[in-house]
């Protein structure tokens, strides 16, 4: 029996992350990065945002977003480095840096959201 690669798992994370990112990141980034700082739309106040993030559902949503978006990046960037720069000989290093980075970011998100007060 031939050993099957673990790519399906990584690809699933990439796909789920891609879907999630496609649906929600544009509006989030538009608001957070442009509309609120530039005053086009009045930004939500500190109290309201703090209360919103305290809700368990919000924290789960934010954690899922960070986790999936980071693994989407890791998978796509890994292949871009393979193909775009033709540095396949650094395969293992790229693999570790990309998914390692995603794991680190996910851990950070989990830590921040779990300890949010």
């Amino acid at each position: 029996m031939v050993k099957h690669s673990n790519e399906p798992v990584l690809w699933s994370l990439f796909s789920a992350g891609g879907v999630f990112a496609a649906f929600v990141i544009p509006v989030h980034l538009f608001l957070l990065g442009l509309a609120f700082p530039l005053g086009w739309i009045p930004a939500p106040g500190y109290q309201y945002l703090h209360a919103l993030v305290t809700l368990p559902l919000t924290r789960i949503y934010l954690f899922a977003l960070c986790f999936l978006a980071l693994f989407h990046w890791a998978h796509r960037f890994r292949y871009t480095l393979y193909d775009g720069l033709q540095i396949k000989h650094l395969n293992e290093l790229i693999f570790v840096c990309c998914y390692g980075g995603a794991i680190f970011g996910t851990g950070l998100a989990g830590y921040l959201l779990w300890n949010f007060h």
């Binding site: 496609a22 703090h50 990046w73």
Partner: protein
Amino acid sequence: MSNTQQAARYTEYHPRWYRTHVSTWWWLARWPYLKFILREISSVFVAWFVVVLLLQIRALSHGPDAYARFEHWLQNPGIVLLNLIALFFVVFHAITWFNLTPRAMVVRLRGKRVPDRWIVSANYAAWAAVSLVVVWFLVRS
């Protein structure tokens, strides 16, 4: 050694066949390739958004002063420019993703394949709906 492997080894070592080396800049040679690489680069800006989001969460948990400093940082012209570019790329990601979805997921209703444009339209409609929900949650005092 299997036939496939034998054929591959023979192919690899044949001395007189000419093999063109693929340039590192292969992706600049044709527009479709460049568009592809730009699409892949959009993932970096997806990761950038996560960074900004994490900074926001951290600032929120450190109190109103810290959050005010975060908001001030977001108004920095360099950061605004970066976020503008990032927005372009994440929108590019969303558009290319929705347009390619029907090719990866074939939906069949009663035996017939659902036309691609229905799936694409459904994606865009859902995108608008989800965006409105997020706006509803965030645009208020």
